[in-house]
Symmetry: D2
């Protein structure tokens, strides 16, 4: 396993990549002030694994080699493993207050594992063995791998081959003896610039007409063909300012970028699906299922911080004992723990796949994510309520530091005099960051769209609802069908 | 284990009890048409245990004797046991569409088990051994035991000894050589008339001044000193009509009654707390915790039926494919599975007590119940939306059966002609029953107040929230406290 | 104007009608104990008009004759008139705690008034003059008129002429020299048995193929061809018991019945649409619009009572000062006044029609009703929360009156001793009645489906939303379209 | 009346003011790129008044001089005037998509008008006449006046004189022959840097011990004693970038600043309250009431834009016809029009004050604002749902403009090819701006805390609820009190 420092250095060691940010090529992404907080965030998954007190959650025993590995590279081997994953995510969420990015690869790993196995069973292909070798290296080298799914999609009412521009979904443009050439892009890639490897999957269930789009493969993150365009997020440039106080979350942050596959060559050894469109649905659903589970951990961990920030602000404001404030904090806790319950439940109800690793309960994982598309928003609203208006009218830290305005800021921004004004300032900036600012994208919009937008979960809930069984239960109870029991 | 039939006969065998209903003494409660559906409902816990396909959920192996027992008499021996409990409750809820009553005793059993153990450790008393003997008989005889907690309470802003009338909480009025004499009443006793035994606990955390109220004990349900007054519920008298169709749930129902302890004598062997007020809080909280878990099973089971009824009605109305109908059914499923997730999660996160049985995670159990005070109401609202107005304007079954009006009812109440009008009639009656009628008390109001009203859970959530830890997390993230990690 | 007593006698004077209830012919509906509360409720619209202190709201000056008339027979002559309508409905809702039924006719009157005018303008028909004569008699005789719209509809995915049974929508079966013969039924007829006249309208927008279904007309309620089947509602038979306490709302109630038009003959003078299918949509939308406004008055009036009952129960329980109780009551008030705001706003934004009377703002009226399909349910949930479980476990009034159980009920059901137990009993029964019992249909399910189910309002909201205008605003703000202003 | 251009020039003409922003003194606030959008926004209130098509809403006839004036300087003379105010605010909100700031002064004007009148009646003071002279100038000169209320407040659980630092509320530090000297600060001052005048009021109901804090007065915005510190808001520095596309709302924005009264001298002619603490409550409540009404206009106007942006994005994404998208847009419209209903209703229910101007209905105005603290957040959540994740992962406009990345952005960010990619880009930036970015503070957090935080409204709702009347209604209905009517 790598240490956090080794991880950070390993990213520098990837060498020059074509990463564009704010219109400019970034020669050294790792040390760019807008990008670095996201590197720190992912590095936390390494740092915590070094700490004995977190070993139980952060480390696992490899199912392949029996060695100790970072749990982020783990094949889920039991429901207990699935539960520990969620608890680990809550922990890392607690320590970063932002999206730490490394879950996507972990979830892709597990989805690909069982899907390649079942694909081989049906089609007689050899993907699973290839993938096993890939996973062995992954565990060994303790990679951060970007699980790469969402295509640009163009007009959402049309499939891949119906788009005017065929490149709006990643597809195979040429098959060669030694590999394939792919073209397209993947959007919203969380943490991709902080990854060693990119593991690409199709984005939706495909029919035979979209066979060329049924492609899964891995490429090193420093492949020359790749072009990265870094997404801009709310308040990103505050990270460029001389003081970090106004960023709110002063050290950690998320990352979303677009990656372009500009005729990327992939050797066969790294191709894990190529034309088996009938397994695209399984792969997508399993990956999405695992990742919907994940949100019951990481966002809960972030939510703990938002609750803590709201509670601390109530102290600073002198209103800790106001019944409506107490009640709002209780409501935040209640919502947050409901999300955690969903993350835990879909884990505890998991089952073994044919390939040996464990799959979450798909219904409950979708239910989990569906709640995540709602509750953090309400928690953010409550936090803003508790914070008071100062959260959005407070002068800049530069004004706090100015000899002219600083003393006035100190004097007039004071709350309960048991606490320094500067603590209140920082805590309000943190709430701003999580609800409007630098990490709000991770806490809110990612909660909405990450691992699939709300409607995607609703479609799955409908499919898994077994309404016919429920109707039969109802018919018996009202006497349409015979009871036969009592 | 008893069969369902043996159970029903065993209630008759209890002999004459003072049960009052609608102002009259009921000589034979078991066969009274208003009471019988609740007997059937509880009997289902016996009937399903006889069925091989449900053995895994319905039976357990006794921790005391190693014998096979009904899971409703089981000491929870693992988190898996806790999970199975919830799944069993969902199953029985599916088969009854109503409150099957027997959980209260099961939860009281487990709360009393660990509390007597810890009480003995501190006070050197011998309650646990006594209770073990009692439980051994319970398992052996496969009793239904009424867990008996809620006192009348009088003026809620005053404690037991501050009430004008000292009997508004059950208390010891005399201690004798061979036992104690108690007086008072317990309200809202679910299934008490269908129980063999009554296990009484205090209703709230008590101080030294309320020492006499800190009493726990068991009495046989046919003790002569007891007086039962049966609560009336919405549409109860429809059960007295010649046709059962209008009851909606035609065979099963709930039961709530008040029991008066009119100077009841309890021998010491059956006394499990007597004055140890410092353990009243633990007993109440553990019982409540277990019972809040239970709601994540039984009400989910009932919810399945309501969803099934709504979906079937959509079929009958010819609107199955309408997108808004589909979406409302998805929402019902989502809410119901969220409740289930909470039931499962507090089980999976359970821990072993000092006495050996397992306790649920208290935070998550309270979160579970808090959601139960909300979601069934929204599900009921959605079901009424899907059902359409006919649910509440439909003529009586007598009108359907009348030679004059019957043909008009058949003709005008028809929906999609693929289904008989009479099916639509029955299904609408079922939705009425669950949202306004005979089982709405069980599905809705009991969801609100059973195992403690919403505010009781909020107080627990606040106490367990560990806000100081969350504040510390927030302080580190915004830079008030040192990071020290990255 | 009639007095309340004259009104009640006038119903008796209608003579024998074929009204069926619980499978039996009811010879004198007015004095039947299940029906009488609904008569009392409608009679309140007459009684309040007699009271000088309510004259301003309850009376209006006829636009046709200049005479003082009951406002329930009024053509809306200004936005002030529309506002007074809503305030009148809140007042009557306050005095009855139930649906007083007479609004349907008033709203039908105004919808028919402007639609017949516009129909004549286009088709050269003479319906408006006929209808003016009818309205003149209506005002003069101070009728209660049942506005009669909802057909059985059969399979909801098919139109009238696509049904297997052509009678599932009211239609003309024969045109004669002196009138038309109609056949079919109308469902959910609020207050029809308490009406002097029935004013029939089509139930949806019709195409040319459904021309025969485009028929509007009036018949006297005692027409021999009519058959009424009274709908049964939750707890209806409690009204038959010797004590009325358990009914909750002891004197007032709603009424829903089905009416069969068994080849009813209507003379031309009373026919107001016959084949003009292109105006069916206008008639339906305007009636629905007015009626959706109405819900912003009557249900608010009922809501006031539920709030009062919850607040009084809090007093009786001794928890008036508990912050969570206070907060829940505030929330109930807030929701109720939001509904009132919607009722007032669609009135204040009303506009004059070509025929001279005033139409509400259609968007806001639909928004009003959409909120009514939600908030009363939440208010009912909060009221049940505040009430406590006793609301659904309380023994019958017969048990309170019994010499054996009565003293125990008095003793154990006591709350704060500043209030008699019997007050608590009655108040809890009232909350039960409004949320589960005899008037819950009116307060809840009618709020859902009356004046159109929720989806009907959503379709209207979509149609009236003018999204193109909103898109244009957005395009200008983000710079796609030129600003041109600053 | 001033033209928009004259208004902007008049701000320049105010001369040097001590305005600090991002730690620096801003010599010319009007033309600072971060401030200018807020100037444009306020200027819109002048520009629209110049346009004949908006004259009816934007202009009024002065109650003092009979001259045509800008409605933002108007004394409300009727309920129709109150309604027009709300419609005007919706219009300006439509044209700016941001907070246009000028309402605060208008609402302060009307609150001060009636309060000074009633103060004079009781105390024999001459404030009203003074204020009349001030208002006459205001109308004449068409000022933008900052209504200035919220003090820093320090520890919220203590009153002004209980704070350790007496300056945490504005107070009189010296009374002189020719005027008073005041010290303190006001927070969250919307638009203060764009105002000609500052009209200061106390922030809460004061007791005799806080007499020195009961002070109201006006000062010119360029008074030398004043120090302004500009609040920083989400994404404020995007306005400094070379392209404005990423700002989202490219031309308009809000403004919040803190103003320090550093021993400001105010001549008596401009003092409107000085020690009459018993009228502080009336002034605060009336101002708050008017301003809570205002939110039913301006935020609805902003909401229209958010709806339009969401609907346009749905077009660009090719999902306009998806039923769940349609339904979410309907929900947004429904919520927005509910807010409008509340704004209209409290206006239509207004009443004349003793001083002659009109006051809104206080209950309904508080209900209006309470809804505003909720619905915009849900609308923002729905807009983010409809927008899709690209809203927060899209590269900067600089990347769109770069020769390297620009073509890839154009290609891969394309939606439905019927629309340019750049339109999609701008529209997504607008949604970002309103929900997370530059105008989210105005649309969301200001909706929460402007005109008083949610709890402030709840306290008012409780006070105005007349629960005793509601209890009496309930007692009559359940038979505790006599009916006496029927």
């Amino acid at each position: 396993m790598m240490t956090a420092e080794e991880y950070i250095q390993s990213l520098r060691d990837l060498g020059p990549r074509k990463v564009y940010l704010l219109g400019e090529l970034v020669s050294n992404p790792v040390d760019h002030p807008i990008i670095r907080p996201s590197v720190n965030c992912c590095a936390m998954t390494y740092r915590l694994a070094e700490m004995p007190e977190h070993e139980n959650l952060m480390q696992a025993t490899s199912a392949l080699t029996g060695k100790k590995i970072n749990r982020f590279a783990n094949l889920y081997q039991s429901t207990d493993d699935l539960i520990k994953k969620v608890k680990m995510q809550r922990l890392v969420g607690n320590m970063t207050g932002a999206c730490f990015q490394r879950c996507v690869g972990m979830d892709a790993l597990n989805a690909m594992w069982s899907t390649t196995h079942e694909m081989d069973l049906k089609h007689g292909t050899g993907y699973h063995e290839r993938f096993r070798r890939y996973v062995t290296a992954w565990e060994e080298k303790d990679w951060t791998v970007d699980g790469c799914m969402t295509d640009p999609k163009g007009n959402r009412s049309r499939g891949p081959s119906q788009q005017k521009d065929p490149d709006l979904f990643v597809h195979v443009v040429e098959k060669k003896n030694d590999g394939v050439v792919v073209r397209g892009a993947k959007m919203h890639q969380t943490g991709i610039v902080n990854s060693h490897e990119i593991l690409v999957m199709p984005t939706l269930t495909l029919g035979a007409e979209d066979r060329d789009y049924a492609v899964a493969f891995a490429v090193p993150a420093n492949d020359e063909s790749l072009l990265y365009i870094y997404g801009r997020q709310s308040c990103d440039t505050r990270k460029l300012e001389s003081t970090k106080v106004d960023v709110g979350n002063i050290r950690y942050g998320g990352q979303e970028a677009i990656v372009i596959f500009n005729d990327t060559f992939v050797p066969w050894e790294r191709v894990f699906m190529c034309g088996e469109h009938d397994f695209s649905g399984m792969l997508v659903e399993r990956f999405a299922g695992y990742h919907r589970q994940s949100y019951g951990g990481c966002k809960v961990g972030n939510g703990d911080i938002l609750i803590g920030a709201a509670a601390a602000t109530a102290d600073y404001n002198g209103v800790t004992k106001a019944s409506h404030i107490r009640d709002k904090i209780i409501e935040m806790v209640h919502l947050n723990e409901t999300l955690f319950s969903c993350g835990i439940a879909c884990s505890a109800m998991g089952r073994k796949t044919a390939s040996g690793n464990y799959l979450i309960d798909m219904m409950l994982a979708n239910v989990c994510k569906q709640n995540v598309t709602r509750f953090p928003y309400e928690m953010a609203r409550l936090a803003q309520d508790i914070a008071g208006g100062l959260m959005v009218t407070m002068p800049s830290d530069a004004d706090f530091n100015s000899p002219v305005t600083g003393p006035w800021c100190e004097k007039m921004m004071a709350g309960d005099d048991a606490y320094p004004t500067r603590h209140r300032q920082r805590m309000l900036r943190l709430i701003e960051a999580m609800t409007l600012g630098a990490v709000a994208v991770g806490y809110l919009t990612e909660s909405m769209h990450g691992a699939g937008s709300p409607q995607a979960q609703r479609i799955m809930i409908q499919r898994l609802a077994n309404l016919e069984h429920k109707k039969a239960l109802a018919r018996r109870i009202c006497g349409i069908d015979p009871d036969g029991l009592l």
